[in-house]
């Protein structure tokens, strides 16, 4: 009889030991597994931060491909330069709109070859665009407004539009990679989106070398077209992308020099940058990182009281973004402009509208806004009740394990509570949260699918997209309905950026956004990028003379110029 309790005691002691051991074991054990010794260190670039699972597919058509599939292997016609806010010809030599904006003509570069030595021709471009006629292909909606595509000769492709959405088209041009027709045409319609494409044949500077559960290895290819055409040469012979197990592990790898570029959010990195850990970032001073997207507080406007604009306004006024920026992030992010437009779009922000209708943190003003709109504390619990006198109780949900957002959500809830709004932060499983967001079954949540792009149109499309469906997959999670705003968004997509109407349309949208508050912009999430100079130097930085490309391996960032970062790096040994 005695033995059982003793046994249980021993068991629990073991559990305790295991619990405490976890702390130490984490970094040590997984660190060892990443000793990639088989590639010469001074020719190899080790990266991490984009892959969260083993590489399983190299199909550039559907998201989920191994890091670098689009960017290093498959390339788009243009890339976007976020510094100058303009498209740069990449596979294309040039692209031109006709005078009436109805047709667009792309001229391909001469001498571009696939990695199997076959030439890249206008047929490949036509084939890739026409893949959009398959419903399962992500860009299938292109064919709602594109009428036809025609290869007029080996190097010329002509696109004819039924509805010339200039902004949306330019977005398509740099976000989608061209695939070789001679390989893909033998695949069935279903295969196009489900094929793993194990031996990717692309036009880019790298080819498949190897992959394992914990890494993706690319090898430099001889005779990349840009070496002649643009005088660009990628420096690393090998690019090894390490699959993330956790951000803390990445921090350990980086500080021990086994990682050159980490695009992970490294918790507590602010301490690292202040200390002497030899870790570099884009800016030497706060905010250290470039801004990648805007973190938004999304109210579900189909539910009361979030359907009341006064309530949303009061909520916005109750949030102390400064505390999130300084306390939670240690100044590695910046507070957002009330319009939510990223810093790269600063020139489009209408300062007059912002100063007249923008919001700032002010708990007392939030209380006053609530009182004026009829939200009063009738039962004396310190929290306001809705207009009918019923207690308000709202949940702000953030995925469990997203540590920075969890902490930020706590700060938001705290601020709201101080203003008399009963909001609590909760942390459900990430998959459960995805379902809730898609189906509109939530009160409040945080979302940041508002990345840098060629045009603020993507941001306003994200805010105002209509019609609101039962399932909202990528935009308008607030389920906010405003026909006038949606028409402006559509108008914006048809307006070339050179047209004066472009700026005025954006200004009108800002006015609607600031008075209606369909979503509340909070802070700019950083383009997390930490690098060490143990093997490679000349990283992008604000310093004079340093490259200004985005220092990121995230998917979709290569097309925003990150690919050029690889051409600027210099190996340490040859310095």
């Amino acid at each position: 009889m005695r033995t059982r309790p003793r046994y249980i005691a021993a068991l629990f002691t073991a559990v305790l030991l295991a619990t405490t051991a976890c702390e130490g074991g984490d970094s040590g054990s997984s660190g060892n597994s990443s000793n990639g010794g088989q590639y010469p260190r001074n020719e190899t670039l080790y990266t991490s931060g984009s892959a969260w699972g083993p590489p399983t597919t190299w199909n550039p058509i559907v998201p989920g491909y191994a890091t670098g599939t689009v960017g290093l292997v498959y390339e788009p016609l243009f890339i976007f330069n976020p510094e100058k806010l303009e498209l740069e010809p990449w596979l294309a030599e040039k692209g031109e709109w006709s005078a009436d904006n109805k047709t667009y003509t792309v001229t391909l570069r001469d001498g571009v070859k696939w990695s199997d030595d076959k030439p890249l021709t206008a047929d490949d471009v036509k084939y890739t665009v026409e893949l959009g006629k398959i419903k399962a292909v992500p860009y299938s909606n292109l064919w709602n407004w594109l009428a036809s595509v025609e290869a007029t000769d080996q190097r010329t492709v002509k696109f004819t539009f039924s509805d010339p959405r200039v902004q949306e088209w330019e977005n398509w041009l740099y976000e989608n990679a061209i695939v070789p027709k001679h390989i893909w045409e033998s695949r069935s319609e279903a295969d196009i989106t489900t094929h793993k494409n194990e031996k990717p044949v692309g036009s880019g500077p790298y080819v498949y070398q190897a992959h394992a559960q914990d890494r993706m290895v690319w090898k430099k290819k001889d005779g990349w077209w840009a070496e002649k055409a643009l005088n660009l040469k990628v420096a690393p012979t090998y690019v090894v992308d390490i699959v993330n197990s956790s951000n803390e592990v990445a921090l350990g790898l980086l500080t021990s020099g086994r990682l050159d570029l980490s695009n992970n959010f490294l918790p507590g990195v602010a301490n690292l940058l202040k200390g002497d850990f030899k870790v570099k970032t884009y800016y030497a001073e706060p905010p250290y990182m470039l801004s990648a997207n805007t973190a938004m507080l999304i109210p579900n406007t189909t539910k009361a009281p979030m359907n009341d604009v006064a309530f949303r306004k009061a909520l916005a006024e109750s949030i102390e973004v400064k505390k999130i920026v300084e306390g939670v992030y240690g100044n590695i992010v910046k507070a957002s402009n009330p319009t939510g437009l990223l810093p790269v779009y600063d020139q489009y922000v209408d300062q007059a509208t912002v100063s007249s209708s923008g919001f700032t943190f002010d708990t007392n003003k939030a209380k006053a806004t609530l009182a004026a709109a009829g939200y009063k504390d009738t039962n004396g619990d310190g929290k306001v009740e809705d207009k009918a006198g019923k207690p308000i109780s709202l949940k702000l949900i953030v995925p469990s394990g997203w540590t920075d957002w969890m902490e930020a959500a706590r700060v938001i809830a705290e601020g709201a509570q101080a203003a008399g709004l009963n909001i609590v932060a909760e942390f459900p499983d990430a998959a459960a949260l995805d379902d809730a967001r898609t189906a509109g079954k939530f009160d409040l949540l945080l979302n940041n699918w508002t990345g840098v792009s060629n045009t603020p149109w993507t941001y306003y499309n994200y805010l105002f997209q209509m019609p609101v469906q039962a399932q909202q997959f990528s935009a308008n999670f607030s389920r906010y309905q405003n026909q006038a705003a949606w028409e402006l968004v559509q108008k914006l997509s048809r307006t070339p950026s050179s047209d004066p109407a472009y700026k005025t349309t954006i200004a009108e949208l800002q006015k609607i956004q600031l008075t209606e508050m369909p979503a509340i912009p909070l802070w700019y999430n950083g383009m997390w990028a930490q690098y060490t100079e143990s093997a490679w130097t000349n990283w992008p930085s604000e310093a004079a003379g340093a490259p200004k490309d985005f220092p990121s391996t995230w998917n979709n960032m290569w097309e925003l110029g990150s690919i050029k970062m690889l051409t600027q790096l210099k190996p340490v040994s040859s310095k």
Binding site: L16, E248, N271
Partner: protein, 321 residues
């Protein structure tokens, strides 16, 4: 002769009957009086030996000191444990005794709040598990037959359930958002070994003469369990509770550490969870994760040492004096 009574649960105890006879044999009105005397004496004796047992006294002092710290210390602060009050990531100092977190929260304040949650989850979780386990054990052991079979089956089923896996799933679907609800789930999964042990003890006790006598005198089953059987194993039940208390504390710490903790409150496991998530180890913020780790170890360790000491107190064979 009542000295032998605590040992009754161990041995066939032919002598134990003598003590027990006095209680049930007398008329109901006199019952409590007669029963109270040996009971009081037993308590006095136990106390006598307990206060001379270094393990019990030492363990008790540590546990009580932590309890007092958890209850009193938070009263001296006019800010909350999650508020950003100090400089970020600074080491222990006169102002912030255990230093501050990455965000500038006071680690000492979090620690004392964490102790509160620790005791609360131990008390509620351990208490609930003890209640369920003992009830099922007594009923199964005393009633026997089909009831025993059924309860035994239930016990065995819960015994083989992988509690951690079930709790992770429960957390996903229901969400464990407060310390009491966490304690509830822990309690529901940690009683089976108690039920089995108590059932076995009850089995052995229910065939004793004094129990038969009580039955003959017309006492109900509930009253017999409460007044005849349970008191004869009270020391064992008490020690069981201590083990369950410690077990609940550890279980809660495990859950909190892997991120299934309650929201809105602070616990020692959550502190360690936060410390790991914010790279306290890599960045050398040892003051963030050492206090909660040591706190849990100290509390649970002290409880177990106390338990070993109590064993010696209640069981004369183990006494070293």
């Amino acid at each position: 002769m009542s000295d032998l009574a605590p040992a009754a649960r161990e041995e066939a105890a032919p002598a134990a009957g003598g003590e027990a006879v006095s209680a049930p044999a007398v008329p109901v009105a006199a019952g409590p009086v007669a029963a109270a005397q040996p009971g009081a004496r037993r308590t006095r004796d136990a106390l006598h030996f307990a206060l001379r047992n270094k393990k019990v006294v030492g363990g008790g002092i540590v546990v009580l000191a932590f309890l007092a710290l958890g209850l009193i210390a938070p009263l001296f602060y006019d800010y909350g444990h999650s508020e950003y009050v100090g400089p970020q990531s600074s080491g222990p100092s006169g102002e912030y005794w255990f230093g501050t977190t990455t965000f500038g929260q006071d680690v000492f304040l979090q620690f004392v709040h964490g102790i509160r949650s620790t005791f609360l989850v131990g008390l509620l979780g351990g208490g609930l598990a003890a209640l369920i386990g003992m009830t099922i054990g007594f009923v199964a052991g005393y009633v026997g037959g089909l009831v025993d079979e059924a309860l035994n089956m239930l016990t065995n089923i819960v015994l083989v359930l992988p509690a951690l896996a079930v709790l992770i799933i429960l957390h996903t679907y229901i969400g464990i958002t407060s310390v009491p609800s966490q304690a509830l789930f822990i309690g529901i999964f940690s009683w089976p070994w108690v039920a089995r042990a108590v059932r076995a003890q009850t089995f052995s006790l229910r065939t004793r003469d004094f129990v038969d006598l009580a039955r003959l005198s017309g006492m109900g089953s509930g009253a017999i369990i409460r007044r005849e059987i349970a008191p004869n194993m009270s020391s064992y039940l008490f020690m069981t509770f201590i083990l369950l208390f410690g077990g609940s504390v550890l279980f809660a710490a495990t859950l909190d550490f892997i991120g299934l903790g309650p929201t809105g409150v602070m616990s020692l496991g959550l502190m360690m969870n936060n410390a790991v998530h914010w790279s306290a180890l890599q960045l050398g913020l040892w003051w963030w994760f050492l206090p909660p780790g040591l706190g849990i170890t100290a509390i649970v360790g002290a409880l177990y040492i106390m338990n070993v000491g109590l064993d010696e107190v209640f069981n004369p064979k183990l006494r070293e004096m």
